[in-house]
Amino acid sequence: MTTPIYLSVALDGAGWHPAAWREPRARPAELFTARYWIDVIAEAERGLLDFVTIEDGFSLQSSRTDRVGGRLDAVLIAARAAPLTRHIGLMPTVVVTHTEPFHISKAIATLDYASNGRAGVRMRVSASPDEAAHFGRRVFPRLSLADRDDPARQQLLTGLFDEAADYVEVVRRLWDSWEDDAEIRDVASGRFIDRGKLHYIDFSGDYFSVKGTSITPRPPQGQPVVSALGHAAAAYRLIGTAADIGYVTPGDAGHAAQIVAEIRAASRAHDPIHIFGDLAVFLGPTPIAAAERKARLDELAGYVYTSDATVFTGTPAQLAGFLAEWQQAGLSGFRLRPGGIPGDLEAITRELVPELQRRGAFRTSYEAGTLRGLLGLSRPASRYAASEGN
């Protein structure tokens, strides 16, 4: 019996290749319309994918005139798509460094209501001095991104990831701050809620304090799914201790096994964590066609596209084999970054998925109504449910 693979796609503009917007079927002029995003997410849902992530950030992707510049808020894109989809998980990216956990907690809880239990959130830290200047509340040094061993960079990132862990803790406590049955509507006593089932979260940490209670009742999933992308120890610690899903970028299957071991070592033993491999994918009907397409895009961009994630170029059948191999290393699923949309997205939903289904490695229909359900995660009780009073 083949172990099923969890599969998601990471959506970013016209695709992850900087020249993807120039592909014949790309819709670059529609990137700022609801129609575009709904079509793309609906395509992912047709492929029975577990969820989509939506990239976001607080600065322009590029200052060049030959690249896509500008984007819409990812939480709001997800909300706009929620009433028009039925099964697929919606996982917007949120920058934790510059936002309020109170706002994000209720936004994701509300996305969970609007989607009937399909919300998640990908937490991102930002060390960018440019993004910090957009908020004016803190100043980050301009560090070389190339030098991963620079101690100043390490120190900054470690602090930001520690802060992110506190942020996730606050968001999660707020989701739990109303017990499930707190709304009683007891006409006889005149009480709308049982206030004994509402709880202050009283969080106080090194970076901030938040009192609670949330203004939004506990969302349908109880705890919407939290995910994060990581490339190094500080992020792995965050994934291991705070996330339900970690996205990682191994260079090969052996490296994948090492990363999985490192995250498992950092994690709380009792909580299941999915570790997904991130791959940038350029697919074609033949290996040569895929390579030629990638080469054509590189030529348009003026350089050979590489990524933090491994770049896969080949046929959907080859990709299916590749995923099976990496799965053996301990990854439970994958987040594929389509090089171009809709081309690579449709190759995933219409060719890769049937191939995986033939191998018995992927669902043939949606088997659960919530994102936690799709991911095999149970619905947790509120952490406050057993406690007495307020």
């Binding site: 700022f32 690249r67 009433p83 009480r191």
Partner: protein
């Protein structure tokens, strides 16, 4: 000339206007309730739907207040989801300027405007209380006198961000490989005592340029803020004399800012009870008032004025003999209405006099002295009253607050609106696609320089 009426729907709030004990009352959280009200409003060709906001649960006597509806979803997220189930309806929400940053709010409103095809509106409010600030990492409460300064500066800064893209940057020409007509779009720089920010804004200009701006404050500063900066006022003055005075006052301030009277709409909040006849409606309205003011609610209201624990008093008995505690109001927290009682001792004396003269119990008195329905009557009576107030310049229309969620607007939509349409004072169909068009406001061209009357 006959004025055209503007109508909007207010999602029922977390106060005692909303009758949750009615068997027809549905969820205040589930998206289906919001979708129901929005679809009703759009079917009736309303200008917009409005969502209020609160960022800390109210407390009384040190406990979370449990007699009214408690809890609400996130404003932006609901509005974006509603854009999926409506086509023309404006989508308006309150967003606080104290517990947010301009860059984030601007990109959320610009995104909502794109995702709704130009239907976003923002009711700009400012909190100053430390009580709410405890929910935020920034803390960030303000001295009360600094709140309009903060709101003005915040709004001005978001305008600079909205206007940082001019609308002609994106050509996305595949053949030539030109996506942006110029490098570094969205450049901005804003430096004052509240905000010191610079860089590049990352959301292209939305269909409306800037979202429609609402203002809700009633103070002198609030009125001036509205006259200088808002497209519409969410007012409290729904009666003829009150409404006319407010209308004349605020519209009279516009010339100072180089604006014309049609550039600021006055839209009071209004409640209503409909019946087959005026007598039926009056009877229903009395019943609704009793549902809105239970015995416990009456005591709670009294405590808010008295600033004391009065839980030992019988709501069906006389008013307390003791006087209000004149100090800082410590009984009720997170509630704006307690500040309306500027002289608690005088108000208490007045209430006692009224209760004695009319032989009213605590509950009966509170039913009398707290706000009653703005419009009560048959559909014809209510349609006439609305039209009369608008034509008499007491308002430009109304923001209707149903007391039942989510079906409380259905009857109004199917009975009152057709009568207004027959009179030719309310649209039979949408003419434009953006909220600015519905409201008759000119679209915002990006100014060469920010036109800010109250310079920083």
């Amino acid at each position: 000339m006959t004025k055209q009426i503007h109508l909007a729907a207010h999602f029922p709030g977390v106060n005692n206007t909303t009758v949750w004990s009615d068997p027809r009352s549905g969820s205040h959280i589930e998206f289906s309730s919001f979708a129901h009200l929005a679809r009703t409003a759009e079917r009736a060709k309303f200008d917009f739907l409005f969502l209020a906001e609160g960022l800390r649960l109210r407390e009384q006597n040190g406990q979370i207040y449990d007699l009214d509806v408690v809890g609400r979803p996130d404003t932006f997220t609901v509005l974006a989801a509603l854009a999926a189930v409506t086509d023309r309806l404006g989508l308006a929400g309150t967003i606080n300027s104290t517990f947010n940053e301009p860059y984030e709010v601007a990109r959320q409103f610009a995104s909502l405007d794109h995702l709704s095809g130009g239907r976003a509106a923002w009711n700009v409010v400012t909190s100053w209380d430390a009580f709410t600030g405890e929910n935020f990492r920034r803390g960030g409460f303000l001295p009360q006198e600094a709140r309009y300064e903060r709101a003005r500066t915040f709004l001005q800064t978001t305008w600079e961000l909205f206007d940082s893209w001019h609308g002609d940057e994106i050509i996305a020409d595949k053949a030539s490989g030109v996506f942006l007509t110029r490098a570094k779009p969205g450049r901005f720089e804003h430096r004052d005592t509240h905000f010191d920010i610079s860089g590049q804004f990352d959301v292209p200009r939305g269909p409306q340029g800037r979202p429609v701006i609402f203002q809700a404050g009633d103070s002198e500063e609030g009125r001036e803020f509205a006259a200088s900066s808002a497209d519409a006022i969410f007012s409290r003055h729904g009666t003829l004399a009150d409404g006319q005075a407010f209308y004349a006052d605020v519209k009279g301030r516009l010339a100072r800012y180089g604006r014309t009277p049609d550039q600021l709409l006055i839209l009071p909040a209004a409640t209503f009870v409909l019946g087959d006849s005026d007598a039926d409606a009056a009877e229903l309205a009395r019943e609704v008032r009793r549902q809105q003011v239970s015995g416990q609610t009456a005591i709670a209201f009294l405590e808010q004025l008295w600033n004391r624990d009065l839980s030992g008093y019988d709501p069906d008995g006389p008013l307390p003999d003791v006087d209000p505690d004149p100090g800082e109001n410590t009984i009720a927290r997170g509630r704006a209405s307690v500040r309306m009682y500027r002289d608690p001792l005088a108000t208490a004396a007045q209430w006692r006099g009224k209760a004695e003269a009319e032989k009213l119990s605590i509950r009966e008195l509170i039913i009398e002295v707290t706000s009653r329905q703005t419009f009560t009557g048959s559909p014809a009576t209510v349609a006439g009253a609305i039209n009369d107030l608008v034509q008499a310049d007491a308002s430009d229309g109304f923001i209707l607050v149903p007391h039942i969620t989510p079906g409380g607007l259905d009857e109004f939509a199917s009975t009152v609106v057709p009568l207004l349409q027959e009179r030719g004072v309310f649209r039979s169909d949408y003419e434009g696609s953006t909220l600015r068009e519905h409201l008759g406001l000119v679209s915002q061209a990006p100014p060469k320089e920010a036109a800010w009357p109250l310079s920083r």
